[in-house]
């Protein structure tokens, strides 16, 4: 049957299982929008293309499948760049479809022409410019295949407007031919044997689990391995939930704002098993001082990540699930009582220094996070923005499930939370979705409240309003002699703002109001916004200063409190 290019876009998308797209129309993509109503897809109109991109990202992280975003040429495509870079860094599968000026105008600096494939080259797993309708179906198919296989990532397809209007016989390309792309490698059992041997001989093993575990749905295998060989598990920010944080073998988060016990255990380990993580500098600190006595086993899907930052002793190039399954059959049951006792000592010490102390009267953000965990009973999708609140959420909300925390880990994109939370809702409409966002980041993408209004998206928003770009202020306090240049930030009246968008809202200024407000929001049918006006100058601890070894921790001060010594908040 003859189809226009625009119809082919929808023919392929619907066959790829797409039912929701996030986007914003314009001249060059208009044929795609014109053809859309004839297909069983829902379009969510973002208020900014960056928002549309983050929505697709949130959708992809929760659904585990490709998120789709459609925008027009030029400024729309450049607005998308931050969202693509965010997805690229965190290996999130997105297919971005952008309209482009007609082939006849390409290269002429036509109205709204941007070299989109050029601009997005470094922030996509792959991209295409389509100048001939005969290539269109194949390229779209390849885009989905590349986005969702191997190490997932964003793929952009830039389609010239005349291609969208052109007509051809539509054939769905069943077979793909990508000779340079062979993401499946097969497991090397020699490497598995070598890894098992190291583990079996170890006395102080530690697992560092990352995002790759959740992407591979390998959380059960990970837990079984940890339990069988008695290995404590530290998690990266994106790995939180790989093993339940309430599990006795969980060390919680490691790295720059990781728990002391996790960082110390890594440093003292004799065998380190890194699974689906890439030794980001926020995880390793000073590389030369990282896990100095450990033999390192790296289970990783992307060959380029192996030996990139840390030289490893055994590399298992495989999907985490497959590798862990194989390893599980080879490791001996073990008990490491002395090692666990040592970790418990560190844990005890850090309880005193870092853990939330209920005797604080002021409204401090960690308390809000801990109560959010209680009120939701840990059963919610949490989408955080970037900054102090992001770290507090990671520390004080206990993530027991995988794919429950969405956050921009690799790029650290402020403005991510609100749109990504909207996308998350569409991937899992029955789950409660909370956006936890700073007053700075919220003001970067708050225009997406318009989507919540128009579509009645039942996302709950917790603004951690500390009057500062808090994380930057913390660095200024610690490393720039409290020179708060450019970090104080005013907010509009969020009650009025919420009212303008028809969203119920509440302001919380004392500790006593926190639980009631959270409960009301959590049980409310629709969207809800809470403005938590928290104590301003609170720091995130522990902290590893940039470039330091991860066991060189800056700690919260201890002061005399009403009933003895307590951390100073």
């Amino acid at each position: 049957m003859k189809r226009t290019g625009a119809q082919i876009v929808w023919e392929v998308l619907t066959r790829e299982g797409v039912s929701t797209v996030f986007g914003h129309p314009g001249g060059a993509i208009l044929p795609v929008y014109d053809a859309m109503p004839a297909y069983p897809v829902r379009h969510i109109l973002a208020r900014h293309e960056q928002g549309a991109g983050h929505m697709a990202d949130g959708y992809a992280r929760v659904s585990g499948d490709v998120g789709v975003v459609t925008v027009t040429s030029g400024p729309a495509a450049t607005n998308l760049v931050t969202a693509l870079a965010t997805a690229m860094m965190d290996s999130v599968p997105i297919v971005a479809i952008t309209g482009q000026v007609p082939t006849t105008l390409l290269g002429n600096d036509a109205f709204q022409e941007t070299d989109v494939t050029g601009v997005t080259q470094a922030v996509t797993k792959h991209n295409y410019l389509v100048t001939n309708i005969q290539d269109l179906a194949r390229i779209l198919r390849e885009a989905f295949y590349i986005a969702r296989t191997g190490r997932p990532g964003p793929v952009l397809v830039d389609i010239c407007k005349d291609v969208l209007n052109d007509e051809t016989e539509f054939v769905f390309p069943e077979k793909l031919d990508l000779p340079g792309y062979r993401p499946y490698t097969g497991l090397d059992m020699d490497a598995v044997e070598a890894a098992a041997e190291l583990i079996n001989q170890s006395h102080r093993p530690v697992i560092i689990a990352g995002h790759g575990v959740q992407m591979a749905h390998a959380e059960n295998e990970l837990r079984q391995l940890a339990e069988k060989a008695h290995i404590p598990v530290a998690m990266t920010l994106l790995g939180l939930g790989d093993i339940p944080e309430t599990h006795p073998l969980s060390l919680g988060m490691c790295g720059m704002h990781g728990e002391a016990r996790a960082n110390k255990a890594i440093q003292e380990s004799d065998v380190l098993i890194a699974v689906g993580m890439r030794f980001d500098d926020r995880v390793t600190g000073d590389l030369d001082a990282f896990a100095p006595n450990a033999k390192i086993i790296h289970i990783e899907f992307d060959p380029a990540e192996i030996n990139k930052n840390v030289p490893v002793d055994v590399a298992i190039l495989a999907d985490a699930k497959e590798a862990l399954q194989a390893l599980l059959g080879k490791v001996n049951p073990a008990r490491h009582q002395n090692w666990m006792a040592k970790i418990e000592e560190w844990n005890h010490e850090s309880q005193e220094l870092d853990i939330l102390n209920a005797e604080v009267d002021e409204l401090i953000p960690p308390y809000v996070m801990r109560q959010l965990w209680h009120v939701t009973q840990g059963d919610a999708i949490i989408v955080t923005d970037v900054g102090q609140h992001q770290m507090w959420e990671a520390q004080y909300f206990l993530h027991d499930k995988p794919r429950q925390l969405l956050t921009s880990g690799g790029l650290g994109t402020m403005g991510y939370a609100l749109p990504a939370a909207i996308g998350a809702h569409y991937a899992s409409p029955d789950e409660t979705v909370w956006a936890v966002v700073g007053d700075g980041g919220f003001q970067m993408t708050l225009q997406e409240l318009g989507v919540i209004m128009q579509e009645r998206v039942p996302v709950k928003i917790a603004i951690i309003n500390n009057g500062f770009l808090g994380m930057v202020r913390q660095w200024q306090e610690l490393f720039y002699e409290k020179n708060y240049a450019g970090t104080p930030i005013q907010s509009p009246d969020y009650m009025l703002l919420a009212q303008a968008y028809g969203i119920p809202a509440r302001r919380v200024t004392t500790k006593e109001e926190v639980v009631a407000a959270l409960e009301e929001a959590n049980s409310h049918e629709g969207p809800y916004l809470i403005d938590f006006q928290v104590k301003e100058e609170v720091n995130v601890y522990p902290m590893v200063a940039p470039g330091e070894a991860i066991d060189n921790l800056l700690r919260r001060r201890i002061v005399q409190g009403p009933s003895g010594l307590q951390p100073a908040w």
Partner: protein, 182 residues
């Protein structure tokens, strides 16, 4: 990882690329973005239609070169990458060198050209264009000698390479070594 420049070596790497729009630009921007120190680069057709062959030399330690190769290999349109450093291979480069001459120096230059089995491909009253083919060292030394006359213009292609013995073309399977040699 910290890198000690005193351990840096020159590596010759061959990559087979699908001959599609944007592929070369992707490869080049990858080199720039990842801070790979590329000394030379030569690209042209391979024995297989639709596949181009890129030879480049990169300076760095083994780990840096391993990274360069893996990042290249990860590109969707890169079919295969091979480090031929240390392998038995022939490496050749071509140079065109314009040398300023006069009646006295012309015979001297011609003699040098002869010794190096280079050839003269263009002649004018006050200059000669020398074409030289050889491995990098040989060209370096010829150019150094000619620069005494002096050289007024020069272009080098950068080396291309081919391993000795068995054919090693675009079809071989080089993608994703299963276990990283340590």
């Amino acid at each position: 990882m910290t890198h000690d420049p005193s351990t840096f070596n020159k590596h010759t790497v061959i990559a087979w690329l699908e001959d599609k729009p944007g592929v070369l630009s992707r490869v080049l921007s990858l080199f720039r973005r990842r801070n790979f120190n590329i000394e030379s680069l030569a690209v042209g057709h391979s024995e297989r239609p639709g596949v181009s062959r890129l030879t480049f030399t990169v300076v760095g330690d083994d780990q840096m070169v391993e990274q360069a190769i893996k990042q290249l290999d990860k590109q969707i349109n890169v079919l295969k990458v091979e480090n031929v450093t240390g392998k038995p291979a022939v490496r050749r480069e071509m140079a065109l060198i314009r040398v300023k001459v006069n009646a006295q120096t012309r015979p001297e230059v011609m003699q040098l050209v002869d010794i190096y089995r280079a050839s003269i491909i263009d002649v004018s009253l006050d200059s000669l264009v020398v074409q030289a083919v050889g491995d990098q060292d040989r060209l370096d030394s010829l150019i150094e000698l000619l620069s005494n006359f002096p050289v007024t213009e020069m272009v080098r292609t950068g080396p291309i390479a081919m391993t000795r013995g068995r054919a090693n073309g675009a079809n071989g399977n080089g993608k994703h070594a299963r276990r990283i040699a340590l």
